[in-house]
Amino acid sequence: MLRKSTRNQKKREIVGIVMVLAFGVLIGLPAAAGTIVGKVKYDGTPPPPRTAKVEQNTEVCGTEQQSEFLIVGPDQGLKWAVVQVADAGGATPRSEPPTMDQNGCRFVPRVVIARPGEELAVLNSDGILHNVHTVSEKNTPINKAQPGFVKSLPVTFAEPEMVRLKCDVHGWMRGWIMVTDDPAAVTDDSGSFTVTDVPAGTHEVTVWHEKLGRQTKEVTVADGGETVVDFRFSPK
């Protein structure tokens, strides 16, 4: 028979193990989360795109490039707007790291979302020299060369911020990187977006567009539910 002190010790050990297991189970349970869906619309006709004449690498870039800062779909859907749920951070990690490609002398996709400290892979499908040149205040600006033989170049951002991306070799190229921990999504061709893993509760939802600015709405999300939020931008 075990001595009394050893028996107590064993009891404590078993209790400890059970507590740890229970804690682990509780941690492992999915948090209460919902989804926000909706559409972002633009109430006007976008101006005709500006054209830049291409002087170099025409076999890859073409002879002309058009500006894409305001893309409106057939149903007035605004493309390349970012919807972000404020202070709802700690979203579940993504399965794949985000990528930004340089394809046809354009940044594809134009807007990408990355986490602070997460590696963003910048790809070079064009096979010519591009440079990854960021413009930002809180993050130190990056200017790295990506010659044609470098297919992928990692960049990392430490602080949440909206970072502008440009290429000096091809002055018309424009891209945006939203560095944030919050749940966020980018609108597609029809202006629709889906933000997943939003914790249940009331949040401020902000939509950002590079030319049209920001708008904010307050939204309540139910656990496992889908909340619909629409935004509308008007021409000034």
């Binding site: 002087e55 690498n57 600006p141 200017n143 060369a145 010659p147 044609g148 000096d168 070799v169």
Partner: protein
């Protein structure tokens, strides 16, 4: 008896009158001194000038250089150079056919202007004595005669007299003025007495007074070439600089409160007039400088030996201060004490939080260079294209690649890629090892990216070797992208007062004399070609940009109507400064090329 009684009042009145007369009759100097006893704030009218003069006196020491003096300093324009030939015949000025050809052989100064002193010392130009007709030579001067008005003596010797101008309290900034370099081109009355005022300072010179009457307009720009006058700002030999840098890399004074205090003193005395009192790059000379002084408050530094997003090391900053930045207004501060320069480094770092927040990365180690064999050069040449350097720097390295015209720096200002082919030293790289470093680290704040993460050391050395082989292969473009070809625009109908004929030969003398005939709205008039180089040899960029011409394609609606109103080209081409735009001179611009 009271002093105010009648008798003594007359007496005191008389005394008063006499003293007023006496004071008025005195010289201005005495008057001022006397009145100062009674009044404050007496205006100083001892020298009547329209220009407000500097109150800092400059001590002038004569430095007479003769061959007998053992401590003779060479004058800038040495008498040992080939003597200037005073051509008094009508022989053509150059055997060379055109100014463009002449410019191929002219020596240039740091600001890409012609170095006339060196050109004369080398015997390339022979200033021609233009005898005054009726006492004065008349403007405007044409290409046929060099615009030198000398009412002096064609055979006079040069005045080889150097002056040492020492500002009071600032012996470091003593400047040397060589009479010889001026008297080979000008006579005494060109400068004396108006322009040659001793009571002047850099603010006034940069603003166009005293020396600035010519320097910055037709002679070298004072803000680009400090060391040409201020002898202490002349860069030291590379070996001396390298020794100091290797000493600095091993051990450097660390940042203590005493060091920071000393740094602040040195900064205020030597740096603040360009970089600003608070390190924001807005010193009082800053508006005159083409390349703006660094704004230390942003924490962005161009020259460093680290890669990626890392800030520069202390030795990087020390190196920049010591060497200066050739091609800009930042001179070499070699003459300051080693410890003072280190104090500056530590003080400058305090202007921004970046050094406190970021971890200082290790500088890249530049390995021993491989031998520059044919094979390495061929590899480098191929890599130059593969890595895309030619997109901005051009195939021959002259900075005229297809992407070059649209480049902008972080401030949004247009910026040009470096022209390797010119043979000038780069701003921070003096050798292939320096090129290696710049290629790997990039230049933060400019479009030049860092290749540090994508090239290995052999590739970087190959590129450095190739860049070295390009140096001196093409002349530095004398002006910005050469000539501007103005394509013919459609003239709106209301601008044409009278459509006469496109055949000039059928016009009578009376018709030719009329002003309206300029506007011949036919397609037969050739487009206009504007030669930048021809203007650049005389004027600096700010003479026209941006007040007369905005530097943006399509922003200047230049039409003949506007020119007849005195705008654009006619600001100078009005018969007073340069030839008038008129019927006989159409062909000077409307030239089919």
């Amino acid at each position: 008896m009271s002093i105010f009684q009648k008798r003594s009042r007359k007496g005191s009145l008389a005394v008063l009158l006499v003293s007023i007369v006496a004071v008025l009759a005195c010289s201005a100097e005495t008057r001022r001194k006397t009145l100062k006893v009674f009044f404050d704030g007496v205006p100083d009218r001892t020298e009547s000038t329209r220009v407000e003069e500097s109150s800092d006196p400059i001590a002038v020491a004569l430095v007479r250089s003769t061959p007998d003096e053992p401590d003779r300093l060479p004058t800038q324009f040495s008498l040992e150079a080939p003597p200037v030939r005073w051509a008094s015949s009508d022989a053509p000025l150059e055997a060379i056919g055109s100014w463009e050809e002449a410019l191929e052989i002219m020596p240039t100064d740091d600001a890409h202007g012609v170095d006339w002193v060196r050109a004369a010392a080398d015997g390339l130009i022979a200033p021609k004595f233009v005898p005054p007709k009726g006492g004065e030579s008349e403007p405007p001067y044409t290409l046929d005669t060099i615009a030198l008005v000398t009412s002096g003596f064609p055979d006079r010797p040069l005045l080889d007299l150097d002056l040492q101008l020492v500002p009071e309290g600032k012996p470091f900034f003593a400047a040397r003025f060589p009479h010889a370099a001026h008297t080979f081109l000008l006579n005494c009355s060109s400068c004396h007495p108006k322009a040659a005022r001793m009571r002047t300072d850099m603010d006034r010179i940069l603003a166009g007074e005293a020396c600035g009457k010519c320097h910055g307009k037709v002679a070298f720009q004072p803000e680009m070439e400090c060391a040409r006058c201020h002898e202490k700002l002349r860069p030291a030999a590379d070996t001396v600089v390298e020794e100091e840098l290797s000493r600095a890399r091993k051990a450097s004074p660390s940042a203590t409160p005493e060091v920071a205090a000393r740094g602040q003193e040195v900064y205020q005395d030597y740096c603040s007039f360009c970089h600003g009192e608070s390190g924001d790059g807005l010193g009082r000379f800053a508006p005159y400088l083409a390349t703006k002084p660094r704004d230390f408050t942003t924490g962005k530094y161009k020259f460093r030996s680290t890669i990626g997003t890392a800030p520069p090391t202390d030795v990087d900053i020390f190196g920049t201060i010591t060497r200066g930045v050739p091609g800009t207004s930042m001179p070499a501060w070699q003459a300051l004490d080693y410890d003072d320069r280190w104090a500056l480094v530590h003080y400058i770092k305090t202007f921004t939080d970046r050094f406190a927040e970021q971890v200082i990365a290790e500088p890249i180690s530049i390995p021993e260079p491989p031998e520059f064999t044919e094979e390495l050069l061929a590899f480098g040449k191929d890599l130059y294209v593969q890595a895309g350097c030619n997109a901005c720097h051009g195939d021959n390295g002259d900075g005229n690649g297809p992407s070059a015209p649209t480049l902008r720096d972080d401030a949004g200002d247009p910026i040009r890629p470096f022209n390797f082919a010119s043979g000038r030293p780069m701003k921070s790289a003096w050798s292939p090892a320096g090129t290696y470093r710049v290629v790997m680290s990039g230049l933060p704040g400019t479009p030049m990216p860092g290749f540090g993460e994508v090239l290995d050391s052999r590739m970087a050395w190959a590129l450095a070797a190739h860049v070295e082989s390009l140096r001196g292969t093409a002349r530095a473009p004398f002006a910005v992208r050469g000539d501007i070809l103005f394509e013919r625009q459609e003239i709106p109908e209301q601008e044409v007062p009278r459509l006469v004929t496109t055949d000039l030969h059928t016009l009578t003398a009376e018709e030719l004399a009329q002003d309206e005939l300029f506007l011949l709205a036919g397609k037969d008039i050739p487009p206009t070609t504007f030669p930048h180089w021809f203007h650049r040899i005389r004027f600096k960029c700010s003479s026209c940009h941006e007040s007369v011409f905005r530097m943006e394609a399509g922003a200047n609606p230049i039409t003949m109507t506007a020119m007849r109103r005195g705008e654009f080209c006619a600001s100078c081409h009005n018969g007073e400064i340069a030839w008038e735009i008129g019927f006989p001179t159409c062909i000077r611009c409307h030239v089919a090329r």
